[in-house]
């Protein structure tokens, strides 16, 4: 049976399929073709991203792992890392939530400038961030000198300084995530709450925060992961003092010279944490 003449471009696209007299054409596969070069380079890039992980796993001294991670320096750094990253995450939530509300709900005079300032720590080299923090909050810094004379507080080279450095680089992750959720939620529910007698605070507490709870959790997890891995800004602003500012990433860097196997072990721990965060967030961040 002769098939109805199809337009030429459709003929071309269907040329590869067997000559079908099948009654119903099934759901067609996408007919668009990817240039071969794109496919090849794409897979090469994927391999490049996977390579370091494979390298790390290949060099991992599995049998001595418990001993390596049980060293007192490592345990010390681990404890400090947990304290610093959790404190930094708390700071991100306390400061970032109001900031996200301001960005999402207030009509700002120059929203682009505000958003650029928020995103800056994401793209700034961490060393630059640390340097900038030093000149702002250092003992001679713009604000730091007043902190010193009025309150006797000096941030550089203290655990508090490490928290500040980590919070500075981690804050955008929380703010951006929560702001997006606030925008998506819109103010429809706020209006409904207002007509039911809920004032602004009651609306935030009883309606908005519960509505964006998944984004709050995701933002906190992302900023925590970023704070945990913070290296450059911490080293520059808070220095490298065991028990005070020497967190896991700094310990890793030092261990690389002293005992490379220990460095591999700590790296493995940090990577496992990063993967765990990724898996936890997969529904939000990774398309199925």
């Amino acid at each position: 049976m002769r098939q109805r003449q199809r337009p030429r471009h459709i003929q071309a696209l269907t040329a590869a399929s067997p000559p079908d007299d099948a009654a119903e054409p099934g759901p067609a596969r996408s007919a668009s073709q990817l240039p071969a070069a794109l496919t090849v380079v794409g897979f090469v890039a994927l391999g490049l991203l996977a390579l370091p992980i494979v390298g790390l796993l290949q060099r991992t001294p599995w049998s001595s792992l418990p001993t390596l991670l049980g060293e007192s320096e490592v345990l010390e750094a681990l404890r400090l890392s947990l304290v610093v990253s959790v404190a930094a995450t708390a700071a991100c939530v306390v400061l970032g939530l109001p900031l996200a509300f301001v960005l999402a709900r207030r009509r700002l005079r120059s929203p682009r400038v505000a958003r650029a300032v928020v995103m800056l720590p994401m793209v700034l080299p961490p060393v630059v961030a640390g340097t900038a923090l030093l000149f702002a909050l250092g003992r001679r810094g713009l604000v730091g000198q007043w902190l010193d004379t009025w309150f006797g507080v000096s941030l550089p080279f203290t655990t508090a300084g490490a928290v500040v450095a980590a919070a500075f680089v981690a804050l955008p992750f929380f703010v951006v995530t929560v702001e997006a959720a606030l925008r998506q939620a819109g103010d429809d529910l706020d209006e409904a709450a207002a007509t039911l007698g809920a004032g602004p605070w009651a609306t935030v507490v009883h309606v908005v925060l519960p509505t964006i709870r998944p984004a709050l959790a995701a933002g906190a997890a992302l900023s925590w992961a970023r704070a945990l891995g913070e290296f450059g800004a911490t080293l520059t602003f808070a220095g490298n003092f065991p028990g005070r500012t020497r967190t896991l990433p700094l310990e890793t860097y030092l261990a690389l010279e002293r005992n490379p196997e220990a460095a591999v072990a700590i790296s493995l721990v940090l990577m496992a944490v990063a993967l765990a965060v990724l898996v936890t967030l997969r529904d939000r961040w990774m398309p199925r």
Binding site: E191, A192, A193, A194, T195, L196, G199, H206, P210
Partner: protein, 347 residues
């Protein structure tokens, strides 16, 4: 208590202007084409939109007066609202959605839930749905929750935006009764449904292009609707009756044949222009033919609206020319006819 609105609301490139609108007790229906400002009117009374100029008085409180820098925010007004898109709180169970307003007013959880159950019962929601979240409900069920939620705190003013649009026909009568009850409440009913208007409204406001085109009782506004849209809308005939199969017996005895089967109390609606008039009994396929007494003819431009009396209050729109040709005048007995396919059955 009354609600008095006199002023302008500006939205981007568009304005609603209301001069001295008084919303009394009972149901005031707001009708008008899409974009005529119905929802903006409701939002202004609720405090979700601000007046650009003028004054809004609710009871003995000035709620909005930009010149005097007075604005009572929505949560401090005793104005409830049922939104067209429901706007239920997705993180709360149905029962806690309904209890929300009571909780904000200071009721403890147990008391708020007790009242919420009562309200959910009254809007006809199965108790098995009460602990579900809104995402697990059908559109009609959500609308019922939204109505229960707005009614629960017993607001002095209730704004209902297209409340029955997504409710299946079997539930409409029940919800309509709920909206229409408690005559002391001021209810602003934004609607596209002629049955709502015919059965609930004590007062009618017609909006057209951001201005009030007509207001008054249903009879008054029907006599001078103020705009073409309202003329067509109000020309819709609404005949209550009892359905049995495809036959509907009107309360006045007229039997109408309809295209869809139904049972029990219904409303039959059909547009005024679907009714044709004849001096002699018409031949042809129209099933619904009856003899009626002509009560009045209103001529408006090229259109003549003919009011028929017993056996059913029906309006017919004909051209002025055919009104002249038929020699229509009050007191005349005339044949009316309407095709079964033009009739809509509403329960």
């Amino acid at each position: 208590m009354t609600v008095l609105l006199d002023g302008c609301v500006a939205r981007s490139g568009w304005m609603l202007r209301v001069d001295g609108l008084e919303i009394g007790e009972g149901v005031t229906a707001v009708v008008g084409a899409n974009g005529s400002g119905k929802t903006t009117l409701g939002r202004t009374v609720a405090g979700l939109d601000r007046l650009a100029s003028g004054r809004l008085v609710i009871g003995d409180t000035v709620a909005d007066d930009p010149a005097a820098r007075v604005f009572v925010p929505a949560h401090r007004r005793s104005v409830g609202m049922v939104f067209q898109d429901h706007r239920l709180f997705g993180h709360l169970r149905v029962i806690d959605n309904v209890a929300f307003g009571l909780r904000r007013a200071g009721a403890d959880r147990a008391a708020a839930r007790r009242r919420a159950r009562e309200m959910l019962d009254r809007v006809g929601l199965d108790s098995e749905t009460w602990s579900r979240r809104p995402a697990a409900l059908s559109g009609g069920q959500r609308q019922r929750v939204a109505i229960a939620r707005a009614l629960a705190p017993e607001p002095g003013v209730l704004i209902v935006d297209e409340p029955l649009a997504s409710v299946d026909s079997s539930g409409r009568a029940q919800l309509r009764a709920l909206i229409g009850e408690s005559p002391a409440r001021h209810t602003l009913l934004i609607t596209h449904d002629p049955v709502d208007v015919a059965t609930l409204a004590r007062q009618l406001v017609v909006l057209d292009g951001g201005a009030v085109a007509g207001r008054g009782s249903l009879a008054e506004v029907t006599a001078s609707p103020g705009c073409e849209w309202a003329a067509t809308f109000l020309g819709a005939n609404v005949v209550p009756g009892q359905a049995q199969g495809t036959a509907v017996t009107a309360e006045t005895g007229l039997v109408l044949t309809v295209a869809t089967e139904a049972a029990g109390p219904v409303y039959v609606t059909f547009p005024a222009h679907a009714v044709t008039l004849h001096r002699d009994r018409p031949a042809g396929s129209a099933r619904n033919t009856w003899q009626a007494e002509l009560q009045r003819v209103d001529v408006d431009g090229e259109r003549a609206r003919v009011h028929l009396g017993a056996p059913a209050e029906v309006r017919a729109d004909v051209t002025r020319r055919s009104a002249d040709e038929l020699g229509l005048c009050p007191g005349l007995t005339i044949w009316a006819s309407v095709k079964a396919t033009e009739l809509t059955v509403v329960t």
